[in-house]
Amino acid sequence: MASVESAVPNAGAPILALEKLDKRFGATHALRTVDLTFDEGEIHAIVGENGAGKSTLIKLLTGVYPRSSGDVFWHGAPVALATPHEAINLGINAVHQEVVLCPHLTVAANIFLGDEEMRGGLLNKKRMVRDAQALLDDLGFSLPAGALLSSLTIGQQQLVATARAERRGAKFLIFDEPTAYLTRQEAAALFKLIRRLKASGVTIVYISHRLEEVFELCDRVSVLRDGALVGTRKVSETNEADLIALMIARKIEQIYHKDAVPIGETIMETHALTGPGFQDVSIRVREGEVVGLYGLIGAGRSEFVQSVFGRRPATSGRIVWRGKDVSIRNERQAMNLGIALSPESRRDQGLCLSLGVGLNINLPIFKLLSIGPLINLTREAECADKQIRDVQIKTSSRMAPVTSLSGGNQQKVVIGKWLNHGAKLFIFDEPTVGVDVGTKAEIYRLLGSLLKQGAGIIMISSYLPEVYELADTLHVFRAGRLVATHGHKDASHEAILTEAIGV
């Protein structure tokens, strides 16, 4: 790394300095007198729980919100950063977690969006595709510039967004949870790119919930808590436990704490189940057991559980529920048996975002809250309020739309809505994606209480430490097939990863 740094002329000098940066929204103090400097050419991680002020900080740096007070210095000179345009002109760009590009345009058109190459008043499409391709090749992505953006995976779209920022001459690039939806290979490609950008003198701000990425990638890390900066550390001089302690102010001895629950009778088995996206999967879930499904994204895990839940019914094989063969052709049959599914994407599958928290929580159980078609409105309200309390969802009321909640609280709604349903088998597909450490611990506790009530759990996760620590039985998926099965922590991380990748 030393050779890389010496290649950059001003390496180490602050490119951006924040002095007593403050932001209030009405009565809320979102950022409290933050003093922070970013050195040119460094990768600077910012971590903190949901609601710690990370998003607010990004929005101040990119000119989306004006600051309430404090100063910002760019290369030592004070700047206003009052509009996004000003930020972009300085060279400050952000790549967001959920890609904000146009899915119906080509990769090239997206890269050139807002700054198209023209010839005689018309778009010079040919040249844009050529230039975009050159840029992509130069960055080391094997992506076709002429393809529609919507034909790419989310990970590839993220790379396009980065290429777009690169083309706009970014000197200061903010990544907001870039790997939340990426596969391991895609994340690796992105890391490679980030290191290249750093080597060419770009300053990177990297925001992530995944602390292991901070250690893999970053030079320094700053921790925000409740809007205040609680510390900046060199990555080489800190460790995961330190950072977590800074982030949550309380010591989590063991995030993956799990009480021993006796394993009971078999709830469900699948025998050679085959359906769209997976083949020949046989698993068994027992009372009090966590069955982990690990694999890369696209390995067929989500497809498998969606078949068990009746969303895309299996084409062959058997599902045995409490010793009896059953056929699950739709979601309602699965629910009637006692299966609950908390899907992977809370935005696309989990929540009615524009509707109230209460309605979302009660959606699976309105039948239980109704006499005939008519809802018992008192019970509806009580049930929602109870669940909001029990799962500790931070919301102004049960009527507040889900969009008004932070990501972690939204995820609690996705999970909480199944807890009143009386299910015996809970399927959690990536239950902790994009969720902070504190909320993760709460979700694990919730899982634990379900096990104590004698439920069985199928848990999909792409984050190996999570399934590794929690699963009593861990199945590894690769390319639509179940390729290996382990007991609780009876193989190494490396061995499991190797099985998932299949090298």
Binding site: C352, I375, S406
Partner: protein
């Protein structure tokens, strides 16, 4: 973003919500007040009863339309369905088909025709996967054609006085401000007859919750065990049923059946619904909203007549009103 700022935003949003509801009612009352001052003919028992009569049919259409819009769909056929069923009920009444030609039989069959059309719409949307806009645009054209084919382009005159008399009759009343007696028109009671079950269905039944859920996120609703197909059927059946009911009332009121009647009413119904706060993106809507919306439109209509305004102004005013009201709505939903 912290939770507190969000909840503040949200509270502001709710206040605007209430404000919008009051604004609409306020707008209606202000229009009434202004017209009462400007004209001597507006605030009379007779004219107000007439206004309720005029607004009744669009109100019923708009309530039904709102169900389709809440699911994220649209029903462009409601005017055509009203015209078609006005023809159906008239055709049955002038023929001699036993029970089917009694008032009860003819009305029941006409309403059943409405339900059938709604089922067909839902079939196209659910089973054939057509966009609701296309499906109902197609039947909008086709129904007029089928009606013309059946009647061979001519108008059916209804001679049944008991049938047509219903639209002129009234039920209950109260003393008006000028000492005359205000009689509540039967047609307005029909609005109540539709609105109360519609309100219960939308606001107090689980199917109502499901309608909103589908409009907000179909996949999330499905994965929560909502029978998306069945609820979509419900929405289009309610829409067409209300339209058929409107068609029967139309036949009573004008005493004829003609499939080309109610031309353009679908747009008035959609406008009433939108003025009443329904979001064309789905998942936002009520029963009282389109009700107030339709009477605002009718008041513009009625007032313009009394003021001897060029009737073309009515359309211009309606157009601008939609822009203003929907602008307020976007203010309400816009994030900071």
């Amino acid at each position: 973003m912290t939770d507190q700022t969000i909840s503040q935003d949200h509270q502001r949003g709710r206040r605007l919500d209430v404000l919008l509801g009051l604004t609409l009612l306020g707008l209606l009352l202000v229009m009434w007040l202004a017209l009462s001052i400007e004209t001597t003919t507006f605030w009379t028992a007779n004219n107000m009863a007439n206004l309720l009569r005029q607004g009744a049919m669009i109100a019923i259409l708009a309530i039904g339309e709102t169900f389709a819009i809440i699911t994220g769909g649209i029903d462009l056929s409601v005017g055509a369905v009203a015209g078609f069923t006005s023809m159906t009920v008239a055709w049955l009444l002038v023929h001699d088909l036993g029970f089917a030609s009694t008032i009860a039989g003819a009305v029941a069959i006409s309403l059943a025709v409405g339900i059938f059309i709604g089922l067909f719409h839902a079939f196209g949307v659910v089973q054939m996967g057509l966009p609701p806009f296309i499906m109902t645009l197609a039947t909008m054209y086709a129904l007029r054609g089928i009606g013309l084919l059946i009647t061979n382009g001519s108008t059916i005159s209804i001679t049944n006085d008991a049938f047509t008399g219903f639209s002129r009759s009234s039920f209950l009343g109260f003393p008006w401000t000028d000492g005359t007696w205000f009689q509540i028109p039967m047609l307005f009671w029909m609005v109540i007859v539709v609105a109360i079950p519609a309100y219960i269905l939308l606001e107090q039944s689980r199917w109502g919750r499901y309608l909103f859920a589908i409009g907000s996120n179909k996949e999330a609703a499905r994965l929560s065990g909502v029978n998306v197909a069945a609820i979509t059927y419900l929405a289009y059946v309610v829409s067409s049923f209300c339209a058929a009911f409107c068609g029967v009332l139309l036949a009573m009121r004008i005493g004829i059946g003609n499939p080309t009647q109610a031309e353009g009413w679908e747009l008035q119904a959609i406008a009433s619904s939108v003025i009443g706060g329904t979001s064309l993106f789905g998942a936002v809507g009520s029963v009282h909203g389109p009700l107030i919306g339709s009477f605002i439109l009718t008041t513009i209509n009625n007032g313009a007549n009394l003021l001897n305004l060029n009737p073309f102004w009515q359309r211009i005013i309606t157009g601008f009103l939609i822009i203003i009201v929907v602008y307020f709505d976007t203010l309400r939903t816009r994030k900071r």
